[in-house]
C-alpha cells in the first residue's frame, strides 16, 4: 500500500505529470466556460449543444456514420499536428512562429499548381510544397538573422502578403480556380496527387480521406522528438533558444541555427497544407483574412505542453471540439463557440508555468517541513 502511494507521489513530482495535470485543468476550464456561454445563448438547447461539441462523431447512432466521422476527425488532426510541430520547433529555438498561416498559404499555392493543375505524384507535390513553405519561412528567419527584424511582426506581415499573393494568382488561373464556388478545385480520389489510402479507408467505413498521411505524421512526430532528444542539431537549436548570445559565444552559430529553425518550421507548416489538401477534403477558399490554422497550431502546441507526444493529444482534442462545434449550427449556435473554447484554453495555458511553479514551491515547503520535523524527532 505504501509502495503504491510512494509511486503516485513520485509520479506527481515529475515535470511531465505536472504539465499533463495543468493542461487537463486548462481544457476542463475552457469547456466549462464554453458551456456557460451556450447556456447564456440558449438555455434549452445548451446541454444538447455541449453534448454535440464533446461527442462529435459519437452523437451518430449508426456505427458506420460514427466510424466515418471518427476517421474524418483523425484525418483532420494530422495537419494540425504538423502545424503545432512547426510552432514547437521555432519556439524551442527561441522564435515565435506567427507566420504559420502564410507558410501554409504558399504551400497551398504550390499544391494547387502541381497537384490540381499538373497532377504530379503525391510525394513530389508534398516535398515541393514543404520546400516552398520552408523558403517562405526563411524570409522571416533571414530578416531576423541579418537585420534583427522581430520575427513575430515579419511573420504577421508575410501572412497577409501570402494571402493576397495566393488569392491573386489562384483567382486568375482558370484551370485551378472554380469561380462559381470561389474556391480552388479539390484534388480528387483518382488523382496522382491524392495521398494513397493504403487500405486504411476500409477501417473507417470507406472514408477516403483517411490514409497514409496519418502514418506519415506519426513518423514526423517521432523524428522531431528524436531531433530534440538525441541529435546535435536539436541541441544547438535548444541552446540558441535558451540564450542566443551565450550559445553563440560557446561556438554555436546563431545565424545558421535561426535559419535552420525557420526552415524546419516552414516545412512543417507546408506539410500541414499538404495533409489538409491532398486528401481531397478541402481546398483554398477566397478569404479576406489569413487561414486560421496557423493560430490553431499555437493553441495545440501550448496545450500539448510543447512536447511532440503531448501535441498529438492536444491536436486531437482541439479538432474534436472544433468538428463537434460545426455540428451545432442547426441549433442556432455559431460554430465559433468551439473557437471561444480553444482561445480560452490557450489563454489559460499561459498560466501553466505559473501554476507549475506554485506546485513545485509547495513540494519544497512540504519537504522542508518534513526535514525539520525529522530533525526535531532526533533531538
Amino acid at each position: 500500500m505504501n509502495k503504491v502511494k510512494m509511486f503516485f507521489s513520485s509520479l506527481l513530482k515529475k515535470d511531465a505529470t505536472k504539465t499533463v495535470v495543468t493542461s487537463l485543468w486548462c481544457a476542463l476550464f475552457g469547456l466549462v466556460l464554453g458551456f456557460i456561454i451556450l447556456l447564456c445563448i440558449n438555455v434549452n438547447d445548451a446541454a444538447y449543444g455541449m453534448t454535440s461539441v464533446l461527442g462529435n462523431y459519437l452523437i451518430f447512432t449508426n456505427p458506420s456514420d460514427r466510424l466515418n466521422y471518427f476517421g474524418q476527425t483523425l484525418a483532420k488532426t494530422a495537419p494540425l499536428i504538423a502545424m503545432s510541430l512547426s510552432i514547437l520547433v521555432s519556439y524551442k529555438a527561441g522564435l515565435f512562429n506567427l507566420g504559420g498561416s502564410g507558410q501554409y498559404s504558399i504551400a497551398v499555392l504550390v499544391i494547387s499548381f502541381l497537384g490540381v493543375g499538373l497532377n504530379l505524384p503525391w510525394w513530389l507535390v508534398m516535398l515541393l510544397a514543404m520546400l516552398a513553405a520552408a523558403s517562405w519561412a526563411m524570409i522571416s528567419g533571414a530578416l531576423k538573422a541579418f537585420f534583427n527584424v522581430n520575427e513575430v511582426i515579419s511573420g504577421i506581415m508575410l501572412n497577409w502578403i501570402a494571402l493576397y499573393l495566393v488569392n491573386g494568382i489562384l483567382t486568375n488561373s482558370p484551370t485551378i480556380w472554380d469561380s462559381a464556388h470561389s474556391e480552388s478545385y479539390t484534388i480528387t480520389n483518382s488523382s496522382n496527387s491524392f495521398i494513397p489510402s493504403i487500405g486504411l479507408d476500409r477501417l473507417f467505413a470507406g472514408n477516403p480521406i483517411v490514409g497514409l498521411g496519418m502514418i506519415l505524421i506519426l513518423v514526423v512526430v517521432i523524428i522531431i522528438y528524436i531531433l530534440f532528444k538525441k541529435t546535435t542539431v536539436g541541441y544547438e537549436l535548444k541552446a540558441i533558444g535558451l540564450n542566443g548570445d551565450a550559445a553563440n559565444y560557446a561556438g554555436i552559430n546563431k545565424i545558421k541555427n535561426i535559419l535552420i529553425a525557420t526552415a524546419i518550421s516552414g516545412a512543417l507548416a507546408g506539410l500541414s497544407a499538404s495533409l489538409n489538401l491532398q486528401n481531397g477534403f478541402t481546398s483554398w477558399r477566397l478569404s479576406t483574412t489569413p487561414p486560421d490554422i496557423g493560430f490553431q497550431g499555437i493553441s495545440s502546441a501550448f496545450l500539448g505542453g510543447l512536447h511532440p507526444i503531448g501535441i498529438i493529444f492536444s491536436s486531437y482534442f482541439i479538432v474534436h471540439i472544433t468538428e463537434g462545434g460545426s455540428m451545432i449550427t442547426d441549433l442556432g449556435f455559431s460554430p465559433e463557440v468551439a473557437s471561444i473554447m480553444t482561445s480560452v484554453i490557450i489563454y489559460l495555458s499561459g498560466f501553466v508555468a505559473f501554476f507549475k511553479d506554485v506546485m513545485r514551491r509547495r513540494e519544497l515547503k512540504d519537504e522542508f517541513n518534513k526535514m525539520s520535523r525529522d530533525k526535531e524527532g532526533k533531538l
Binding site: I37, I41, F96, L98, L143, F147, N148, V149, N150, V152, I153, S154, I156, M157, L158, W160, I161, Y164, L165, N167, G168, T171, N172, T288, T289, D292, F295, I298, S299, F302, T329, G332, F333, S334, P335, E336, V337, S339, I340, T342, S343, V344, I346, Y347, S349, G350, F351, A353, F354
Partner: protein
C-alpha cells in the same frame, strides 16, 4: 474634386486609426508589455460599440447616442486589455501567447454574440455583418458641403489626443515612470515606483485607445463584417509602432506613409492612371505590408525598443 476629397477623407481616417492604436500600443510596450493584442482590443471595442449601435433605439438623441457609443468602445476595450494585464503582469505568462489567444477570442466572441443579438439564422454561416447606417451619418459629417464627401469627426478627437499623449509621455512624471518600467524595472522599483501598477495602467490605456481606433475604423463604413475582426489594422498599428521606434512623432509619420498605401488599395479603381495599369487589385492590397516589411529591414538594425519588453518583472531577480 469629389474623388480627391473622398481620398483625403479616407487617408485621414486611416492615419487616425493607425496613429491612435499605435500610440495605445506605445503605452503598453513602453511599460514593458508586448502589445500583440491590439487587434483583439480593437475588435472587442468595435463589436461592443457595434452591438450598441444596432440595439440603441433611434429615439435617443444623436449627440447622446454618439457619446454612449464612444464610452462603450473605450470601456469595453479597456476592460478586455485587462485580461492581458492580469495574465502577463500578475501571472507572468508568455505575452505573445496571451496576445494571440485574445485576438482569436475577440473575433470568436464577436461572431457568436452578433449572431445572438441579430437573431439572423437566415444569414449564411459565418456571416456576422452589422449595419449601422444611422451612426454612419452621425459620425461622418458633410464638412465642406460637397455631396458624397464625408469626414469622420472622431478624427478630430484623435488629432487632439496626439499632442496630449506626447506631453504625457515626454513631459509628465507618469510618462517617465512608464518608460523606466519598460527599460529597467529593477531600478524603477528601487526608486519606489510600483512597477506592476504602472504596467497595469499602461496596458489599460493601450486598450482604451485601441477601442477608439476600432470604433473609428468601423464607423468609416456604414457596415462591418466582424468575422474579419479589425481586418488586420491592429497588427498594422503594431508594425507602425515598431518601425517608428516607439516615438510619438515617428508614429504619426509612419502611420501617414502607411496610410497612403492603404488608401491607394481602396481608391485605385477611381484613379485613372492606376486603373489603366491593369495590375491585379491584390497587388495593391499587399503593397502596404510589403512596404512595411522593407521599412522594418532598415529600422530594426539598432535595438531601440524598451529593454525589458516582454519580460515579466520578478522582484527576486533584483
Amino acid at each position: 474634386m469629389i474623388i480627391a476629397l473622398s481620398t483625403i477623407s479616407f487617408l485621414l481616417a486611416y492615419v487616425s486609426v493607425l496613429t491612435i492604436t499605435a500610440l495605445g500600443g506605445m503605452f503598453s510596450e513602453k511599460s514593458g508589455t508586448v502589445a500583440l493584442s491590439l487587434e483583439g482590443c480593437m475588435t472587442f471595442g468595435a463589436f461592443s460599440a457595434g452591438i450598441v449601435m444596432y440595439l440603441l433605439p433611434s429615439s435617443v438623441p444623436d449627440g447622446i447616442s454618439a457619446l454612449i457609443v464612444i464610452v462603450v468602445a473605450l470601456v469595453s476595450a479597456g476592460l478586455y486589455s485587462l485580461l492581458l494585464a492580469v495574465a502577463s503582469i500578475t501571472f507572468k505568462a508568455n505575452q505573445t501567447l496571451i496576445g494571440t489567444a485574445l485576438n482569436i477570442l475577440s473575433t470568436a466572441l464577436a461572431v457568436v454574440l452578433i449572431k445572438q443579438v441579430t437573431k439572423t439564422d437566415a444569414l449564411p454561416v459565418g456571416n456576422s455583418r452589422l449595419n449601422f447606417t444611422r451612426f454612419y451619418e452621425i459620425f461622418n459629417v458633410n464638412l465642406f458641403g460637397v455631396q458624397g464627401v464625408r469626414f469622420n469627426w472622431l478624427i478630430i478627437i484623435v488629432l487632439v489626443l496626439i499632442p496630449i499623449i506626447y506631453i504625457i509621455i515626454y513631459k509628465s512624471k507618469y510618462g517617465l515612470r512608464l518608460s523606466s518600467c519598460g527599460e529597467n524595472p529593477s531600478s524603477a522599483d528601487s526608486l519606489g515606483i510600483n512597477v506592476n501598477r504602472t504596467r497595469y495602467i499602461g496596458v489599460l490605456i493601450s486598450g482604451l485607445l485601441a477601442g477608439l481606433g476600432g470604433l473609428l475604423l468601423i464607423t468609416m463604413n456604414a457596415e462591418w463584417e466582424f468575422a474579419n475582426g479589425a481586418n488586420g489594422f491592429g497588427f498594422l498599428a503594431l508594425a507602425v509602432l515598431i518601425f517608428s521606434q516607439w516615438k510619438t512623432i515617428y508614429i504619426f509619420l509612419g502611420a501617414f506613409v502607411f496610410s497612403i498605401f492603404k488608401t491607394i488599395s481602396v481608391v485605385y479603381p477611381s484613379i485613372d492612371f492606376l486603373a489603366n495599369l491593369g495590375i491585379s487589385s491584390y497587388f495593391y492590397l499587399a503593397l502596404p505590408y510589403v512596404v512595411c516589411l522593407i521599412v522594418l529591414v532598415f529600422t530594426s538594425r539598432k535595438n531601440v525598443g524598451p529593454k525589458a519588453l516582454g519580460e515579466p518583472y520578478d522582484k527576486g531577480k533584483r
